[in-house]
Amino acid sequence: MKEKLEEISKQGLQKIDNIKSIEELQDLRKELMGKKSPLSEVLKTLGTLNPDMKKEVGMKATEIKNTFSLKLDEKEEELIAAKSVVDEPIDLTLPGIKPEEGVLHPITQMCYDLNDAFLSLGFEVYNEDDISSEKYAFDNLNFAPDHPARQSMDTFWIEGTEDKLGNERLCLRPHLTGGSVRYLLEHGAPARFVYPGRVYRNETTDARHERAFFQYEALIVDKDISFSSGVVMIQTIFEKVFGRKINVRMREGFFPFTEPGYEIDMECLVCTGKGCRVCNHNGWIEVMPGGVIHPNVLKSANLDPEVWTGFYINIGLDRLVMMRYGVDDVRLFHSADLRFLEQFK
């Protein structure tokens, strides 16, 4: 009898050892410990044994049962720990499934970054329409009557109006600045607003020149402010857009609608101002004109230049975006080429 029990124990433990799956284990548990298991069979014959044997065999059988139970539990735990939810081979180096996402045009992205920065400073956003008149595009802005920019080689005039003058001569706006007078006429002063948009010039195009491009203009009109406040605004905006402090400098520049006018340079981001090919080895990149709003422009907006003053900055969006990503051909922005646009996700 004892030998039989030894045999049951030995075989049982071996079977436990050989188990490969949880399903097998459940079957084996039945086989080893169920009502019809050899162990149960032995226990059923217990009554036929003498008391001494009965006790001994009973204890032995219980011990085997406990061992089986313990081993099976251990095995089960082991198998669960080793089990994967994927029960087939998987290549973890295969590419993942990309989220199906579109993207905003990089110009729009930059424009919204700037909007966020300006809105946090209490600016409003204004949109002027694309077609304007000579009056708003040039006359109001103190452009001399025979200023070269008014010629058809520079500005896209609308057919049928090209030989007229002032408010009857219409064009695709050559810059955003005309919108400043429109806004001021509507809202008065004080005012602080930005007006992003697309502008048009009749030019020969190449990697650096486009016929349609984007500007982002900001204007503050208030009493008793100094032109040097403009620097604070510019620095704040750059810091917001590029995420760190960017050095800027102002230098002499001339624009009919400003007095004084200045060019604003930012440190070259490629070489951080040390000098490289991109910045023509001088460490600075010309990014925007700016200046104090010319008294004649304020007069066009029905504002008294003795009372009001203010300053413009005009950011070349294309150029800024080109700096941000290292884009070297401005024509890509209007190409509608998804191979280009998809890179800005």
Partner: protein, 807 residues
């Protein structure tokens, strides 16, 4: 404009140790943009004078010679040369090994090495003009000519830059930064700025001492509005000869070509003080009379190259008694040229108004060194500087010359502007309190006269800035600010006044729409030009009578401005189909059509502008892409917080498929459309082997909410029961009819699929839908559920003829 520091230094003593880079930087910050600084002698390193001692034939080459040349070194050297004008005792330009030359005047400079040519050793090379940047000084007569230094004082071995007075530093100034400054178009003006920047004295220009008892030359100005002053000086005993080397070098360094001493003097004076001059051969002036007049009808000007130009009555000409000799201030004609037989000249030093020159220059598409200066509006007193400087040079170059007669017609003198600026104005606008002596120093250095009384600066603007450049106090403030450097004004913090919340619903909606389409629906944003290729406009049968056209379009086929965003989108689709099969794009932009619209004031009438939003999905399965696009529009309102969009089928857009289109409605108004692109348009635009679903929406009709408006709904207290129904139904019963039928009976309806196929009888379709039913008062019992479902099936049968499909 090229500025020679040698010439600038004639007029101002710059501080010692000042580098040219520093000058460029200071000028850039304060006055004009210096684009580059060039040391003109640098490129002549290792290029020296050589004296040919011997010229021998080359044993292996007919066209080459072997020259023994003294280049100032211990021993003469042997150089192989193919020059056509080699002779013994000739002084030539030798590039020694290590020098850099431009091979045949083309390409990048190449370093010279000691070499062998056809077996004979050659120590460097004897150079032609183009190879060493000297073609302006020594115009070559043929390709093989080398530079002959005959008549030029030099010794073998001397550096060529030194011999040719090329030791200079040139600042290249961006002309665009000079447009408002007529005073800076001469070196004297730049010198004045530097004297102000560095606080060093500016030297005075010579004053002329014309003997007014001289006979008067006959000059008549017919149009004093166009010609404000005309000085004619008749000079004899001048003739065509070369200028001294220093003058030639200076002209070359400033980008001009030396011609002969007479013409060179006029050019030199122009670059020195900015006053253009002109010299006429006096024998060419018929009737010894100069008339400044408008051209006659049909009059022509004969040019030096025997061509003629047709003048108009608006063009101002310089004429003799009979004919036009020159287009005033722009260019001369055949009759004014200085020729080898010239013995006397009439020197013109005149003032023409900017507008006259600009108009004629534009008409003849002509810009000359003179006209670009006149176009900036030069003051009339500049003429005096021109007289003095030119007479000094004529006396120097032609000591035997005499002034024979003279005339100064001066109908209109430039008036100096007078401006008053209060100290308070300056302090506030500059953001800094400036001491009176600083303001005065700066202004006086720039030539202003300043008087300070009762806290007000009364200034008289220098005459050279009084032709429009400086006319108001802001201009004077600008001068002070720039000269002290904008950077020297510490930045003043801006204060913000909060008065009200900013409401910009439409601006925000625009952004939400863009972000929705890109980030939620997977569309890529594109930009296209507003001028559209006619091919695409015509493809969608646009009504061109309403379209706006450009007067001078970028290309003939691009003259129409868009009246819809669809044609531009079609072009973008056809471009991208080369690289992609499935893609989604959108664009938001303005479109234009004829009409009347006042954006800002009634006196300005603009065409109609509408902002549109358009998008497309491109893919093979027409139905799939249509429903995808429809889904994007259906969810647009809730994601973008605006009034609901609904659909109706009323007007087919010209681009849409005969069957598959819907109009988009908002507030009972049709505001756009969605549909598949028609076969017809696809074949016109060569969009092949694919399908396109498109939508367009007039952005202006969308109604943004002030804020989100959805309302919270309580979660169901008792569980809902979900049931799928598979219906067999007539083909013409639409989903809309089905949902309307059971809407009241169920909590939710969801479309699962529609099927037509083998198992479905003709004229029928299978529609599977999922519904949720529930009871607000308690959990439904199975009896209640069965009863409810029976009712639903019954009503579907009754109203729609729907039968339950056996699974």
């Amino acid at each position: 404009m090229r500025v020679s520091l040698n010439l600038v230094k004639k007029y101002v003593d710059l501080p010692a140790n000042l580098t040219s880079a520093q000058i460029a930087y200071d000028l850039t910050l304060r006055t004009v943009e210096v684009e580059s600084v060039e040391n003109t002698s640098e490129k002549y390193h290792d290029i020296v004078v050589g004296k040919i001692l011997n010229v021998n034939k080359h044993p292996n080459a007919d066209l080459l010679r072997i020259c023994i040349v003294d280049i100032g070194e211990a021993k003469p050297v042997q150089i192989v040369c193919g020059g056509s004008n080699l002779y013994e005792e000739e002084y030539v330009v030798v590039s020694k090994p290590g020098a850099e030359v431009v091979w045949h005047g083309e390409g990048e400079p190449v370093k010279i090495k000691e070499t062998k040519m056809r077996g004979e050793s050659s120590y460097g090379m004897i150079c032609g003009a183009e190879e060493v940047y000297l073609s302006k000084l020594f115009p070559p007569k043929d390709n093989h000519e080398i530079v002959d230094l005959k008549g030029i004082e030099c010794i073998p071995g001397q550096n060529i830059a030194e011999v040719l007075c090329m030791d200079d530093t040139v600042l290249e100034i961006d002309n665009k930064s000079l447009t408002n400054r007529p005073d800076l178009w001469g070196h004297y003006g730049i010198a004045r700025e530097l004297s102000a920047i560095y606080d060093v004295p500016l030297k005075e220009l010579p004053k002329h001492k014309i003997d007014f008892s001289l006979p008067e030359y006959n000059v008549e100005i017919m149009d004093p509005e166009k010609c404000q002053r005309y000085v004619a000086i008749e000079i004899d005993s001048v003739y065509e000869k070369a200028s001294p080397m220093w003058m030639k070098a200076l002209l070359v360094n400033c980008g001009l070509r030396p011609i002969n001493a007479i013409v060179d003097i006029t050019n030199y004076v122009m670059i020195a003080v900015g006053q253009p001059l002109h010299a006429f051969d006096r024998t060419h002036v018929d009737g010894e009379k100069i008339v400044v007049r408008n051209a006659k009808k049909g009059e022509q000007l004969l040019l030096l190259d025997n061509n003629t130009i047709d003048l108009t009555e608006d063009d101002l000409v310089i004429s003799d008694e009979h004919n036009a000799m020159a287009l005033a201030g722009i260019r001369g004609g055949m009759k004014d040229s200085i020729l080898s037989d010239t013995t006397g000249i009439i020197l013109e030093i005149a003032n023409f108004t900017a507008q006259t020159i600009r108009k004629s220059g534009k008409r003849f598409d002509e810009k000359t060194d003179a006209s670009i200066r006149y176009e900036k509006n030069i003051d009339t007193e500049r003429v005096d500087q021109g007289i003095a400087l030119s007479l000094e040079l004529f006396k120097e170059f032609f000591p035997e010359s005499n002034i024979v007669s003279f005339c100064d017609q001066y109908p209109k003198k430039t008036k100096r502007a007078e401006i008053s600026i209060s100290q308070e104005f300056l302090n506030i606008r500059l953001g800094k309190v400036l001491a009176k002596d600083i303001v005065e120093r700066v202004l006086k250095a720039l030539g202003y006269e300043v008087e300070f009384k009762d806290n007000v600066y009364h200034v008289i603007v220098p005459v050279w800035r009084s032709t429009g450049d400086v006319s108001i106090k802001d201009d004077v403030m600008g001068d002070i600010a720039r000269l002290l450097s904008f950077d020297s004004f510490s930045a003043k913090p801006l204060t913000i006044t909060f008065s009200h919340a900013v409401h910009q619903d439409s601006i925000l909606l625009e952004r939400r729409l863009r972000e929705y389409l890109a980030y939620r629906c997977g569309f890529n944003e594109i930009f296209t030009y507003p001028w559209i290729d006619e091919k695409y406009i015509k493809a969608i049968k646009t009504d061109l009578s309403k379209s706006i056209k450009l007067a001078t379009p970028p290309a003939p086929e691009l003259s129409f401005l868009r009246s819809s965003l669809i044609p531009g989108m079609l072009e973008a689709i056809s471009k991208n189909l080369r690289y992609y099969e499935n893609f989604k794009m959108f664009e938001m932009a303005q479109i234009f059509e004829k009409g009347e619209y006042h954006e800002s004031s009634l006196d300005e009438t603009l065409p109609i502008h509408k902002k549109y939003l358009t998008g497309c999905i491109v893919g093979k399965n027409a139905k799939d892409i249509f429903y995808q696009l429809k889904g994007a529009i259906e969810s647009m309102a809730s994601f973008c917080h605006m009034k609901d969009l609904t659909f109706i089928r009323e007007e087919k857009p010209s681009w849409a498929d005969v069957n598959v289109y819907l109009n988009i409605m908002c507030d009972e108004k049709i505001i756009g459309s969605i549909g598949l692109l028609s076969f017809a348009v696809m074949s016109e635009t060569k969009i092949k082997r694919t399908n396109v679903a498109l939508f367009e929406i007039n952005f202006g009709y969308l109604k943004p909410f002030d804020s989100r408006t959805n309302e919270f709904k309580h979660l169901p207290q008792f569980p809902l029961v979900e049931k799928d129904l598979s219906l067999l139904i007539d083909n013409d019963i639409s989903w809309e009819v089905i949902t309307e039928t059971i809407k009241g009976k169920v909590k939710e309806i969801q479309f699962i699929e529609e099927y037509r196929g083998n198992q479905i009888p003709d004229g029928k379709k299978s529609v599977m839908l999922r519904i949720k039913i529930g009871n607000d008062n308690g959990t439904m019992t199975s009896e209640e559920i069965t009863k409810e479902m029976e009712q639903i099936v019954k009503i579907l049968y009754k109203k729609c003829g729907a039968e339950l499909r056996e699974e």
